[in-house]
């Protein structure tokens, strides 16, 4: 009984040591894995603002969002494509880049112009090779915003996935590290802080057009504009991309 007791005690101690070691090993692995897959960092949030430097270019977010960590962030391409791929920010910055000056017009009437630098979605599609059945892409964003654009709209000449704005990497407020710029569409069709692009067969409603008064198409309509750099003085627009 004593022998049995000693054996039990020894086994208990050994088992305890191994269990503790295993616990800390798993905890370490878990933390490492979590850190590797978490695109966000810290508890610092970015959200909607029109204050300070943003008075010249308003910022809208669906929900306040933890700041994205560029070192751990990846762009996931999923859905109807031959080679679903995950790109790092470095991968994307190495794609053939182009720059353009274009105006972002919010459906709430204000607009602002910037110099954008990025790449055509056609460059990504050379790698991931979408299926013929893929009619469009759902963008999943860091602020839980979702938006859909048809591939026809996404492959227009002036539509870019951009990582830079006015000569610098996108700021958190402007959608770091990657956003879409589609100059002929209202701002809500230009998703920011993109985490995933999902190729889909059917048209879908984005966050705003699903719950709000915004059309799924989102083309800028003929009417009026209130550009921020011109003190919001109203200007007539013909529809589509704004030329001034």
């Amino acid at each position: 009984m004593r022998q049995f007791g000693k054996l039990t005690r020894r086994l208990f101690i050994k088992g305890g040591i191994w269990s503790t070691a295993l616990f800390f090993w798993n905890l370490f692995r878990g933390l490492t894995k979590a850190e590797a897959t978490d695109s966000f960092s810290g508890t610092d949030f970015v959200g909607k603002t029109r204050e300070g430097k943003h008075r010249s270019f308003y910022i809208n977010f669906w929900k306040p969002m933890r700041r994205i960590n560029g070192k751990t962030w990846t762009l996931k391409i999923s859905g109807l494509c031959e080679s679903p791929t995950t790109f790092t920010l470095t991968d994307l910055k190495n794609l053939p880049a182009q720059s353009q000056s274009s105006r972002l017009k919010c459906v709430e009437c204000w607009s602002a112009r910037a110099e954008w630098r990025g790449f055509s979605i056609k460059e990504l599609e050379k790698v991931i090779r979408p299926h013929a059945s893929a009619r469009g892409v759902v963008f999943h964003c860091g602020d839980e915003y979702k938006e859909y654009l048809s591939r026809e709209a996404l492959t227009q000449d002036r539509v870019l996935l951009v990582h830079s704005m006015n000569g610098k990497l996108l700021s958190d407020a402007h959608g770091f590290p990657l956003r879409l710029i589609a100059p002929s569409k209202y701002g809500y069709k230009n998703p920011k802080a993109i985490l995933e692009m999902e190729y889909v067969a059917e048209q879908q409603s984005g966050t705003w057009s699903k719950i709000g008064p915004y059309s799924p198409d989102g083309t800028i309509l003929p009417g009026g504009d209130h550009p921020l750099e011109y003190d919001k003085q109203p200007r007539r627009i013909s529809g589509g991309e704004i030329p001034y």
């Binding site: 989102g218 083309t219 003929p222 009417g223 007539r236 529809g239």
Partner: protein, 216 residues
Amino acid sequence: MNTVALFISLILVSGLNIADVSEMVEVPAGEVVMGDNADDYASPKKTAVLGTFFIDRFEVTNEEFRQQFSDHTFWEGFEPHPVTNITWYQAETYCEQVGKRLPTEEEWEKSARGTDARLYPWGNKPLRKKPHPFYSGIIKRRVGLNKKDSSPYGVRDMASSVWEWTASSENKKKVTRGGLWNHHLDYEYGKTFDRNLIAPSERFIFLGFRCVNSEN
């Protein structure tokens, strides 16, 4: 049962109403007041003299366009909606193929405005203050659905529905005329003198056309 029969009858009658969407109406020769001095884009106000012409009562529909271009695709049920997303060149080709042409902006404005310089095809006041309040996008419906959007000559959908290509040019762009059902945060129908300039190679969801002819 009677209710069902009545409902079916209404659908059939409605169908008959839209059966002849290619009907043309005569706009008699004479003067037309064009433009508006209060609008920078449509000033100065001026007078033009036009001969008699005939204009499509309704905008060209998806179904009509498909009869000329078999590869034209659209969602099921959208056959009687105005055709959009077509370039000026496609609109011009369509008109030629059916033996017609695109209207000049003078012809378009006279068809909408009549001879009394009215602001809207039906008169001088908006039908409603908020055609589609709080909605940002275009709501396309079958042509001729809004019976109140009718000009002095009976031409329909000239203040709402979609904008339309014309044959007229300015600064290498084509003049578009018309209006939409809804302007987000700008609750107005298009006025009879509203005009925009768009490159002929562009195509938009809000832009269609109708045809005219000098003879019926």
